[in-house]
Amino acid sequence: MTRYRCPDCGYVYDEAQGDPHEGYSPGTLFAELPDDFVCPDCVVRAKQDFVSVDG
């Protein structure tokens, strides 16, 4: 399980926790998020902009 950070606002998508408010259940891999996924907090960075936190 990996975590990915939004480079603008610091939101972290943690695959172990998912994001239930956005409809992504715990265990949903980052790769499984839709291609048009954007940062749920700032919305100005897209999936391809996210950076892996855990290297």
């Binding site: 603008d8 939101y11 907090d41 700032c42």
Partner: protein, 403 residues
């Protein structure tokens, strides 16, 4: 005044004296200005004094902006985390929420219990709508925050202007598509505010509803679920407005209809002036470049910014939407509006005046320099605009860097 300080490993002691700290109470108190007319009426018995809040908004504030002028300064970036963590700044917008409810209820109660001329009644309904529209600004500041309390309070305060879809639409729709031709909340060069409103009002509602429907579908829920954040706010609006009708009678129906439309018009006006004609460039992959500060119009007028939680520092807000109001920055060479919002909202309602004020300003921007391919143009006015200004009167400079 408060002084923030940090011992920086390379730069030594960095200090910032926050001179405007207490002046931010203006954003908390501003909604109460709406009651000044009622206060003067009760003191003098003259109905014409009810116009006081409209005079304050459209004449006094632009005048104070002109007298006090601009403040282009920014807090040191190293101290922004401390500034953002200051509970004083966190609580101001939260405490503004009950002000909006109180204002609507008091003005409605006054209109419902006093014998007034039609003119007096209209002025009260306009006043209530104008200052409830300000509630959308409070919801805007709260709705961008990450904490659940702020997000809940944003939905609650949106019940006052009856615009429950705003935060969903604004965050997930407008911010994503701002300054692109398809964004119903970004106005185009040559587009009057009236034509814009026919795109912006229904387009915003549809986009907000669709975004919430998609989120709930991913959760396996119906759009009619109690977790629908748009419906939660509208349900509270229904309770509030039906309660006012039950309390003060049928006269509340025209009052609230006018109030609602005027409140919505405040957001339409803000959206109209904030991105007029600005355009993000398309990338080779078909998407748009990131939103940069020069994709929003900015102003640094002190007074109106202090009354609007820094909404007029809009360039940094769109580039970095989760920054709190107290730490929004000015940048060099930003698209700059010639005055604060309330004066501009009036000018926008007279399209020839608006075009005369803004079109040359838009074309003269450093990243545009007359290149119409860098302008978001109303399609039905394109031929007219190209004939008047030429397709490309000067080459544009390279896009600005990302601050």
């Amino acid at each position: 005044m408060k002084t923030y300080a940090i011992a920086h490993p390379q730069r030594g002691l960095i200090e910032y004296r926050d001179r405007k700290r207490l002046l931010w109470l203006g954003s908390l108190i501003y909604p109460v200005v709406s009651l000044s007319g009622i206060g003067l009426y009760l003191l003098t018995g003259h109905e014409w004094t009810l116009v006081a809040p409209l005079v304050a908004n459209y004449i006094v504030i632009p005048l104070v902006d002109w007298l006090v002028g601009e403040d282009p300064s920014n807090p040191p970036e190293e101290l922004v985390p401390a500034l953002e963590a200051d509970p004083f700044y966190r609580w101001l917008p939260l405490l503004t929420v009950p002000m909006h409810f109180a204002v609507l209820i008091i003005v409605a109660a006054f209109a419902g219990t006093h014998t007034l001329s039609i003119g007096g009644f209209l002025v009260l309904a306009l006043t209530a709508g104008l200052y409830s529209g300000l509630g959308i600004n409070t919801a805007h500041e709260l709705g961008h925050k990450k904490q659940a309390l702020e997000r809940w309070m944003s939905r609650i305060v949106l019940a006052v202007p009856t615009y429950g879809h705003f935060c969903v639409e604004h965050n997930r729709g407008h911010h994503r598509n701002v300054a692109t031709p398809g964004d119903p909340a970004s106005s185009r060069m040559g587009e009057s505010i009236y034509r814009f409103s026919l795109r912006e009002i229904p387009g915003g509602f549809r986009r907000g509803w669709a975004a919430e429907q998609e989120r709930l579908q991913r959760q396996g829920k119906s759009v009619w679920s109690l977790d629908n954040e748009v419906l939660q706010s509208y349900a509270l609006s229904a309770v509030l407005q039906l309660g006012l009708i039950a309390a003060f009678g049928w006269i509340m129906i025209p009052f609230l209809l006018i109030h609602n439309v005027v409140a919505w018009w405040q957001l339409t006006s803000a959206n109209y002036v904030e991105h007029y004609g600005l355009l993000r460039q398309k990338l080779p992959d078909g998407g748009f470049e990131h939103c940069l500060p020069h994709h929003s119009w900015n102003t640094n007028y002190v007074a109106s910014n202090l009354l609007l939680f820094h909404l007029e520092r809009h360039s940094d807000h769109h580039a970095h939407p989760t920054r709190r109001y107290q730490s929004l920055r000015n940048f060099p060479d930003l698209p700059t509006l010639p005055m604060g919002y309330s004066g501009l909202f009036l000018i926008a309602m007279v399209p020839p005046l608006w075009y005369a004020l803004m079109d040359k300003r838009l074309l003269a921007l450093p990243h545009v320099r007359g290149d119409l391919s860098r302008v978001n143009i109303e399609p039905t006015r394109r031929a007219h605009i190209e004939a008047r200004y030429g397709r490309n009167s000067a080459p544009a400079t390279a896009a600005h860097g990302t601050p």
